[in-house]
Symmetry: D3
Subunit: 327 residues, 6 copies
């Protein structure tokens, strides 16, 4: 069965209203974390994962580190986007070219419907981290396509449609370790396999985004531009702090930044964001968006250990960007 394109209407988007007295643009789900570290018997942690609407319910690709701390991606389903069932085993990819089957690890997936299928992008261990691309039509069979870029790269994020007849991807060139730098670039492709026309989108800035920045969820198309949530990192004397904020990119030349929030939208402040395998991390990899209501649900990893949920409304984010922008 070939799936059809997801609707812009998502009435069953998981949702909880902003708490009384809270003036923040983005607020947390009160029952966070929605996915604990040991949801499946073999998992050490489940975080930095991607969900999409699927046949009226929800499906996703989840980063699960097992108890040897090996990193891989697992399939999951949910009726309401809050309670998730994950496969105990990792996704088994179908490789056409055996030269590509080498993959030491997989993590931080993104999922995106483009044209006729769900594409998956993740950080793939191919002689160092780079961007692996695969796809599925049905969340049953998963096909590996190619490594889009040379190492070392992370945070490959596709746009949800072609722009000027090219597929478009954001990514963040890296090193092979805990990269102390990182800017967001954009690349274009006629076929999802060969990528070029690389453009610089934006680099580090001050404060919460002074060490590195990287794209988060698939950008959301708005009449004024592409809404990109992204993470930023500050280096304290005791390590990295991962927060996230937002920017608006030009619709036709998405490497042009229209607005860029100076403040973060969410920084690690709760126990499940501050205490865990990596303290002080809030890292978003997916959103759900209901266009009629303007509701956005943001899925993000907490402390590289669990998965949390946060909410916002698109018009309020746009207002924030217009007033807080430094671009």
């Amino acid at each position: 069965m070939k799936p059809s394109a997801p609707s812009v209407e998502l009435p069953n988007i998981p949702w909880e209203e902003r708490p009384a007295g809270d003036s923040n643009v983005v607020w947390r789900y009160s029952k966070n974390p929605i996915i604990p570290r040991d949801l499946i018997p073999t998992s050490n942690s489940i975080f930095n994962s991607a969900v999409v609407p699927f046949n009226g319910t929800f499906a996703g690709v989840f980063r699960c580190d097992d108890r040897s701390r090996h990193m891989d991606v697992h399939r999951g389903f949910s009726q309401d986007g809050l309670q998730w069932m994950l496969d105990e085993g990792a996704i088994e990819w179908i490789y056409n070219d055996p030269d590509c089957a080498h993959s030491q690890y997989k993590y931080d997936p993104r999922v995106c419907w483009i044209e006729d299928r769900y594409y998956v992008m993740w950080c793939n261990g191919f002689h160092g981290p780079t961007i692996g691309i695969g796809y599925t039509f049905d969340f049953e069979k998963f096909y590996f396509l190619e490594n889009a870029l040379l190492p070392y790269n992370r945070n490959g994020v596709p746009f949800p449609r072609k722009i000027k007849d090219k597929y478009v991807m954001l990514s963040r060139p890296s090193d092979n370790g805990h990269t102390p730098f990182g800017d967001i670039y954009l690349s274009m492709s006629p076929d999802m396999v060969h990528w070029g026309e690389h453009r610089y989108v934006m680099g580090t800035s001050h404060g919460w985004q002074s060490t590195k920045v990287g794209a988060g969820p698939v950008p959301i198309e708005t009449p004024e531009g592409w809404l990109m949530f992204y993470h930023g990192v500050l280096t304290s004397c005791n390590g990295f702090v991962y927060s996230f904020g937002a920017a608006l990119l030009d619709l036709d030349k998405p490497w042009k930044v229209i607005y860029r929030g100076s403040s973060y939208l969410l920084s690690p402040q709760t126990y499940y964001e501050c205490v865990g395998d990596v303290p002080n991390v809030a890292f978003p990899c997916a959103t759900l968006y209901d266009k009629p209501s303007g509701r956005i649900a943001i899925y993000y990893g907490g402390a590289d250990t669990v998965t949390g949920l946060a909410f916002c409304k698109i018009d309020e984010v746009m207002d924030f960007l217009k007033h807080d922008s430094t671009a």
Copy 2:
């Protein structure tokens, strides 16, 4: 209205008795933190701040990092030293010389009445961190004086009176990052602008103070010497741990150390000291002192996120120094 010099009596000093069964020289306030990270709508964190008696109540200069993680200093007032009202906006300094107005950031202020006014010293971003000096008569208008020293320096702390006709300041030469070294020096000035006659006070030692040390609150004059609370840093495999202890300096030659506690007086052990933007930090920047009762209230930052309060009695601190000293 010109203010008058603060009295040595401070009957309204915030205070709470030592808990039963607690044998520590310094004990925490039971309702810590007294200032939460989001006391004002724009703040990410409020910590490492300075308070003084002011017209029978209390005033202070507070480090507030906003939600872009920009660092600046704000004015605050309190009736009881426990509940504080802070300005939402940062202090706007009056600059006489436009060449001085360049300041990328301001943090970790100290405030001290000397002669006829309140001097404020802080870490000022002047092509790297150095010691900015300003003053106020009334906590309404704040005048910038000069950068006292060349970069890179932090933890500039004034003495509360001239010694041998010179202003005196402690400071800690640094680098431009998360400085992995740091000794306390002393400098003298005829005019608060030109500083010289630099002397070495004390360097790192063992254990909790093995990586760096830096002066904390304005020293307290006692008949036996200047009581200096100071922070010390230990580097674990997972980062810096900031504790604080005490030393006694010679009254006339304050670069001579009479006593120096081998043990810390307070190390990060509570949730609000161990979990936050920078785990494991207890960092004092101010004390209040009631001479008749010997009570001291210590204001300190917790985890670079919130502000806490701790208490001690001066005679017990002096006893501690005499028995635990390594100097």
Copy 3:
């Protein structure tokens, strides 16, 4: 009074059954930590310590860092292995050779009955960390023997009997700081003083044990080999994470690894393992073992701050090793 060899029966081993619904091979004691950081008035922390059966009760040598953060080892006794009485002062060693008396610090002790006495091994500050060896017959007098190895070394762990007429020790060559590498080696000695015939046992591997590995408690003899619990370290962007797992070594050539678990048995996940002087540490230094029941009690340090207890059964650990082994 000369002590007799400990029995293989230890009916009074501290014990608590696995919680319902828990499928892990190793589970935590529900009342952890059993030793708080301030058990004695001068202690900053008590962790990474060694216990043995002793005259029907239990004795131990404990790492106590005092409030200057000086590291030393203290004696302790317990009736039940759960509640401990520790000396306030550190052990005073009897030195025969004054050239050996130089010891800047002592930490991470192991204790082991061999032949006629209890040997103690610890990390000894002798111009850098190395392996100090001493012994006691009665936990009253403690004799210093020698530094077994040249600096820089840590985690010296004896085998509980001679093998082919030689004493045998595991150790982990290190550097003088927070060593970012570490493999387990084995050395042999005719006299506990001169060591040689050094053999390589095992090095780092993937995931939780990718930065360094080091022997933990004294190995337990089983018919199939020596059961060695050991710690492994993963380096996240925010520092080291210490977990522990297990391996089985050949009985006659104990540098030959028969099985080695791919997964950790316990990783830092509780508050007292994740928050403290060093976040994210679970570090075992001793076991008690009751052969008839197969019960094992593992003493381990949490967050370099407190001491916890965990339990397992030897047959389940052997099963785990056989199914999870990568060796």
Copy 4:
């Protein structure tokens, strides 16, 4: 005038016979360096440059660092391949897309005739080093095409013909500094603009090639495979040492290594290789090859300061590879 493809015959290849008594596979030109650091009035150094046969004589693209130490590429011509005339000014590239015109620096060019034109590849400063591609038909007008890859990359080297209808390029992913790692990868392109199907060719090995390796001149096609000269780096306590050696790659799947020399062919041993702006560097970027005689002339940079020439015979290199190979 459209140029025609270069002949495989190059009777005027610069050449000097192996000195008597020299048993090395590669030997130096006796009049090295052929290009001094100050050949043009503004140059600080001229090295790591590319030459090709051109209309019966020779042309080239040369790395010239000027006296501000700015790096750029200059055009040059020579009658005999030994004496060169270089433009004083850097090449002015013609850009079609102004978004591409950003180039902070250009260095280490390679030049290669493919199909109908001379392609130039170099390390291009595009928010960090990456591989710029341009072309010229006549060494008069130079057109910029695109940055082939995302930063950070260096040593992009084209193959001299399409393989299975794709352009093929070697490159070495890097960081933004003095990269302490480096493996050789291969990428394919339908159009010289979009690159994918990335494959791993070979990584570091022992000794002279233990820190990093990178492709050098354009590979030479032989019946047995592609002959690739490449540089390797050893890190001594006093810095990098750049030598060069050779490998043979599969004709159809050029990411498969058939032979790889264990020994270097030339290491820095002369004054002009050991003393200069970067001591101990021999770095080849181009060869000339006369197929009938089997003569190869290798152009290489010395000490990042001057340009030298070395010689070998292809059959001797092939013999060397077969006997010294570790692949």
Copy 5:
């Protein structure tokens, strides 16, 4: 005998005309080095030294490292500025305040006549490097004044006259090691003891001056501004390269840069600049200037081992600055 102020005429300035065919603004003395490393029996090296006209001949203060590699400053005299006689022993300073007498090492002196005496500034080991100041009237007795600044600082260089009634000094804040950063600042003093009114002059730039810059000889007053020769450092993969260039500073506000040469004036290219205790160093600490002829003789250290001499004409340097300036 009180000395009189040096004349602006210096007809006996050491001099050699520019070699034929040399188009460089600065050229080397053909008999360099003028001072070998072993001029005195105990010296390992003599470099980075300062000379002044003195009573019709020349005097100087020289950095001599002895054969334990201890660094100190020695007195020297010369009839012609080319052949020098140096004291075997280091200068013995007269200290008024014993708290100042602590000096672990002295190096890189500058000497300058101001008002009524010769001031000497050098890098003084006072708990890390800082700027020591002393003076002599007669090159017989040398008086220590004070450490002008807090550590860590190097390259303190005085202006030859007061500006707006203040002494003025350039310096370069540093760290305690091989400082990988460095900008030039300016400080003012009413009394040569207390320094303040710190201003930022200029920082690093591109190429040869991309890692750090520091003032060299005492600035030369010209009608258009202060001519400052300064060193710049580039970091290659094999270490620092020290070259020198020039800038012109505003006469009244000398922290304002009028011109700044983009190119270096001299970089290490000769054997005695490239080979020695520190390869690739050319480091100027003094000039002689004959105003009528416009001749300037520059004394500079080569490879941190020997002392060389270079020449230029002031009008040509001014022309260079005007045409090559990036300020």
Copy 6:
């Protein structure tokens, strides 16, 4: 044929008188280097090697790095100690225990007659550098004994006779890279296999020996103590500088330092010491000593590339130590 102990008379010691005008305690051979880098066809470099008197002529074990830069030790013979014949192939050791045969590399050998045979010690690649020990009776067959110590260690140097019935060895604990620290320790053994009773001999000091020190040739017994030549390292901004000096150790307790020269005896100053694979290295591994004349010939490596020779007289060295000592 069993060899007999070498005589203390060595009339054929290589020798050249001190040049006229040279006042240094140690002077170089005028025909240095005596062994060029390419003495054998496969060698990249020959240095840091050990020679002994042998049957009236001379034999030695030489470090030869081949052209893959693999490090191994080769046998050599000489009639006069100046001209050497080296085997093209490396020594093939006879291993009794196959667990010991693992050796990734061998370098920096020392050779010493003790009791009845020639012992060889070298830096052996056994999971990192440590001290391998072997022996030969006849320079024909070489037997591997054991790795004396755990990694990481270098510069293992035996004493030429037992002291108090124990073999004695100096060594320098290290790390696995270009170790930036290093002190000299001493260990004792009853059997050359098991080593203990480790003692600290001496650490780094100032200047030329401020980064690390390590024993060089086998110590020479004198009536006043053991004469130990040793290397010291200074870290300049451009890397390590290896010089050598001398110390005198107590005859019975050789870990007690009687004298220690403050100055170096020889530092890298010639072309062959300053330019080569590692610039600025003079590294001694062997001496010859003729007791009747007091002549000492020192073999040392230059620039990690070639082998040089230097000379001194024992009474002059003893005088130097007595006057220049800091111990």
